[in-house]
Symmetry: C2
Subunit: 215 residues, 2 copies
């Protein structure tokens, strides 16, 4: 009665097992306390490596060494597993409102500096690019990302800014930075791709400042 | 000695035929004068629908009703077919330097208006988004797109602007607009997604103006 027995029933070529009442709870007890964290770690790795479309709950379960029913038990549908997996990945970027707190004459520069701090580190950049890839290729993944940003970031940001339409303003500023990230890290177009981050920050900060503070 | 015979030799499950000397030229003669255009149209459709990774030269040949060897004969490798296919798709966006010609106090607004003209029309937007998807998920596709933009657009733009580092300036401005497009058309985040284009143009134009003209 180990994970091995459950795994065998969901080998390649057979459909993922349907959710069966009663059984997941028993499986959960068998897997021990670390199973949920193992599933989440496996989901992050799988979604980052394969994208939303090509990742399956069965594949995540296999990578975590558990039964697919246990994944459903803890997280629900594939969409819900994705939401849980990317929440942690996006978490560093979601603290952006902290960088805007209090506004001021350098809030544009602080916003730019914050985003480059996240992006210039490959450890935080790679999984964010993987999420962008999923959002660009799958409508469900895009909706999950949108919901997360709206719920966890935009509402907070709006409270920090004393301008009309603060959410629109923040999106213009964030969109600007996202576009630069596309050119620099994805399309890798020079001169933006190889420019010193400080040079880009100096160039972009006044544009962000205008969005975030000009009445 | 028709396309049918060639097609049968490259049916599903068999690898695409290697390029054989002499044969493509014969096949070209057999296919008639419209074959090249049929292949290009099929390539555009296939790359847009499936993305770079999942599109094969054999699949393009099948959609065009020709032998895969003929595709190689006209265009070379899959990468080269992709370059030829997206060149036409990107062509409307590549005329952007015309909108910047002469600079002036409204050059930022003209640039924004030009890009929204391309994007707000689904007929030109959808294939551009498909190319973005390919570039975001495949390094080769990204390199092809980068080469096309550098060769066909950035060099021309640089000649139109009287500022230091004109290529860097144009990329900052283009990056800004690309990021807004990501939020509006891909992630579909409100309020940017449902804002009137005129409202966005009014908001973004001063930022573009600064990049394109401020010394």
């Amino acid at each position: 009665m180990s994970a091995g027995r459950d795994e065998a029933s969901s080998g390649p070529g057979t459909p993922a097992p349907a959710r069966r009442r009663g059984r997941p709870a028993r499986a959960a007890a068998e897997e021990g306390p670390g199973a949920r964290e193992r599933i989440l770690a496996a989901a992050r790795t799988e979604f980052a490596a394969r994208g939303y479309d090509k990742t399956s709950v069965r594949g995540i379960a296999k990578a975590a060494g558990v039964d697919a029913a246990l994944v459903h038990h803890y997280f629900g549908t594939k969409e819900q597993v994705f939401a849980a997996a990317i929440e942690l990945t996006v978490a560093p970027a979601l603290t952006m409102p902290d960088a805007l707190a209090g506004g001021g004459a350098d809030v544009g520069e602080r916003m730019a500096r914050f985003m480059f701090g996240v992006w210039e580190n490959p450890v935080s950049r790679q999984p964010l690019l993987a999420i962008m890839r999923s959002a660009l290729t799958n409508e469900t993944a895009a909706a999950v990302l949108r919901g997360l940003i709206e719920r966890r970031m935009l509402q907070r940001v709006a409270g920090e800014l004393d301008v009309p339409d603060p959410e629109f303003r923040v999106q213009m500023a964030a969109g600007h930075l996202i576009g630069i990230a596309m050119l620099r890290y994805v399309i890798k177009m020079d001169p933006v791709a190889s420019a010193d981050p400080e040079e880009i920050i100096a160039m972009v900060a006044p544009a962000l400042q205008r969005y975030l503070t000009q009445p």
